[in-house]
């Protein structure tokens, strides 16, 4: 790193402190600021809210009784959208018995991949979002490179607010992953004449497999 960088640091911090009228740093603990923290309230079943919100955000959703049905649903889905039978699947889903008709590969996504399947860390009822954490078994390219992104969500993973996801992550004792993706629907743009168009650069389709168990 160049010497200029550390000079810049000293200068910016000195300028900030000058404006704040002090000469040295005041130490601040990273604790929640006191006072009312509003979180949107809503009634009704969390899982139904999650499902309805995902549909509102242009995702599609299939309800499965068990995880064992995921393979058949994935096969049906790729056929229905006209995608190839080669799927790039998160290694975290290696236990699933995939249909013999599907070619399953566990790796990061490449340009030619049409469809990926990933698990999620949690799902959020408030906004209709799934949250993924990157890791060796869950490379984040799976979430963005293929045209179709299939996500497996267990009903028990649905929480009320995004803050509940952070609480779960803190309680898990895991280190912060390189990438946390909060995904609420397929890729979209309205950059030309405010016309909403799905599939701008990321997945054109987001398909949720909501597993009851």
């Amino acid at each position: 790193m160049s010497a200029g960088t550390s000079d810049g640091r000293a200068r910016v911090l000195a300028d900030i402190r000058k404006s704040l009228g002090r000469s040295a740093a005041a130490s601040v603990a990273i604790v929640p600021l006191s006072g009312n923290v509003p979180r949107p309230a809503f009634d009704g079943d969390l899982i139904e809210r999650f499902a309805a919100k995902m549909l509102e955000k242009s995702a599609t959703l299939a309800r499965l009784a068990t995880l064992g049905e995921a393979g058949a649903e994935a096969e049906r889905y790729v056929t229905s959208v006209g995608a190839g039978r080669k799927l790039c699947v998160s290694k975290a889903l290696v236990e699933i018995a995939w249909p013999l008709g599907l070619e399953i590969e566990h790796r990061a996504a490449v340009r030619e991949d049409e469809t990926s399947i990933t698990p999620c860390f949690a799902a959020v009822a408030e906004s209709g979002s799934i949250v993924t954490l990157s890791g060796p078994d869950t490379p984040s390219t799976l979430n963005f490179v293929p045209e179709n992104h299939i996500v497996i969500v267990h009903a028990s993973q649905v929480v009320r607010h995004l803050e509940d996801v952070w609480a779960q992550w803190r309680a898990s004792g895991q280190a912060m992953p390189r990438s946390v993706n909060v995904i609420s629907g397929p890729s979209r743009t309205a950059d030309i004449e405010q016309t909403i168009q799905l599939g701008a650069h990321g997945p054109r389709r987001l398909h949720i497999l909501l597993v009851a168990d």
């Binding site: 910016v12 402190r17 929640p32 600021l33 979430n143 890729s187 701008a200 650069h201 990321g202």
Partner: protein, 474 residues
């Protein structure tokens, strides 16, 4: 980029007579305003969220040095590098250095207003790098060689026909020969053209909507997914962010996320919110090998200590410009620099100089809609008034206006004289306008009456009418 040389009045006048621009603006502003209103109406907690966001920002600003140091320590702990840029030139120099050290040739970019502010593309291109904007709106204006005209929707001033023409010109050499008419075709073609670049890029540069001190994460809030492809597929990820963007905790970030998408595009959430923390881990299969954050001051620390401190709460949602009658009439380019609308009219003079952007604080009706919709309650009209005051103090206000203001002050300080003068004036105007009921010309106000008539007064002043009624309701 540099603030444009020609005058605001001239640019505004051209914009008002540009029929294509007016058609594009017509598409835009109504949609944003309507969608935001629906979202706000559907969220009873919206006002409480604004209050909370206000308090969190004020708390951070009062302890900005400590939060930045804490943030830096967390980034470093995760294997990332934090660089501090006092000026736009420092920021350019730092980023050029990172690109040079990485032997970078191709640089992809997600949308970043700070990179516009520091004129990064020009510096990168001058150093021989190939720079590709990947946000669709930014890509369109890069092809058109124009600055953004809106901080959220950079190509909002372009019609689909103009986009089609740009694609004809720039995509034909790549083998795309069909002339496009539908928005869906244009989005698809841009997707195909840009896709190859993500995989070729050496460096990916994105902005940072929020920086989290608790975890050392930077957040981007997007719909297209281009930012994620940019930062995941390049060897080196550089985040450019203003020093005021730090928030204490993950939970605090959620408060701002709830406000941002609703205020910006009228969405409940964007398709993607991504937290990036450090480079690829040892056993990761993808992600950049290096992660850098360039914290840009460029006048912000100075604002912290003065009357414009509240401007540092800004989360760059664009609601103020969407609701501004002046912006809606002239679009973003007339403002002459990268930040348009009410927030730009405050920021541009503060960053580029009080005298270079003289007109901006004055091109405002002080109607206050911007303040009403601002998710972090920035008193934009008061800040614009303060800029006018400073312009007056430093002698920048033109002589005729200074004279008029001083003359008005003479009367305003002497109520009797003021009433006498208005009684006389009103009676005179009433007499001259009696026949038509309106006046088509006023002395010293030819500019005002050039495009409209002044309704003739009834003959009495408000004070006279009030005292005749003795305060009784009609």
């Amino acid at each position: 980029m540099q603030a444009s040389g020609s005058t605001f009045t001239k640019r505004a006048s051209i914009a008002i007579h540009d029929t294509r621009l007016q058609s594009a603006l017509g598409h835009a502003s109504g949609g944003f305003v309507h969608k935001r209103a629906l979202q706000v109406a559907a969220l009873p907690e919206f006002e409480a969220l604004r209050e909370r966001a206000h308090s969190v920002k004020e708390h951070v600003l009062s302890n900005l040095d400590a939060y930045l140091e804490r943030y830096e320590a967390q980034v470093t702990r995760q294997g990332g590098h934090v660089h501090w840029a006092s000026t736009a030139q420092d920021a350019q120099r730092i980023i050029l250095g990172i690109c040079r050290d990485a032997n970078a040739r191709i640089i992809t970019k997600g949308k970043s207003m700070v990179s516009e502010e520091i004129d990064l593309n020009a510096a990168l291109e001058a150093a021989g790098h190939e720079v590709i904007e990947t946000d669709l709106g930014e890509y369109i204006i890069q092809l058109a060689k124009e600055p953004p005209s809106h901080i959220v929707a950079p190509a909002v001033h372009k019609t689909r026909e103009q986009v089609a023409d740009l694609f004809d010109k720039h995509h034909r050499p790549l083998g795309y020969t069909k002339h496009l008419t539908e928005v869906s075709e244009m989005v698809d073609e841009a997707r195909q053209v840009l896709r190859q670049h993500y995989f070729r890029a050496d460096v990916g540069i994105t902005g940072g909507n929020f920086l989290i001190a608790e975890t050392g994460s930077s957040i981007i809030v997007t719909n297209e997914g281009n930012g994620d492809l940019t930062q995941t597929l390049a060897r080196v990820h550089i985040v450019t962010s203003g020093i005021e963007r730090v928030v204490p905790t993950l939970d605090d970030a959620v408060t701002f996320l709830r406000l941002l998408a609703r205020s910006a595009t009228g969405q409940e959430t964007t398709s993607y919110v991504t937290l990036s923390t450090g480079p690829r881990r040892g056993d990761d299969l993808d992600g950049p090998q290096e992660y850098h954050v360039v914290l840009v001051d460029n006048g912000r620390s100075k604002m912290l200590g003065g009357p414009f401190r509240e401007m540092l709460r800004c989360i760059r949602c664009g609601a103020c410009m969407n609701h501004c009658p002046v912006y809606s009439a002239i679009g973003g380019h007339a403002y002459g620099w990268v930040y348009p609308g009410p927030m730009g009219s405050v920021l541009t003079p503060l960053i580029t100089g009080l005298s270079t952007a003289y007109d901006l604080p004055n091109a405002c009706t002080l109607n206050g809609r911007c303040q009403t919709v601002c998710p972090v309650k920035i008193p934009l009209p008061s800040l614009l008034r303060e800029l006018r005051r400073q312009q007056f103090e430093s002698g920048l206000t033109p002589a005729p206006i200074r004279f008029a203001l001083k003359a008005w002050a003479v009367f305003a300080r002497r109520p009797r004289l003021y009433h006498l003068k208005t009684r006389f004036g009103i009676a005179l105007l009433s007499m001259f306008g009696r026949q038509r009921g309106a006046l088509s010309w006023l002395p010293l106000a030819g500019g005002w009456t050039e495009s409209r008539d002044l309704p003739a007064p009834q003959g009495r002043t408000f004070q006279q009418a009030w005292s005749a009624r003795k305060g009784a309701r009609p």
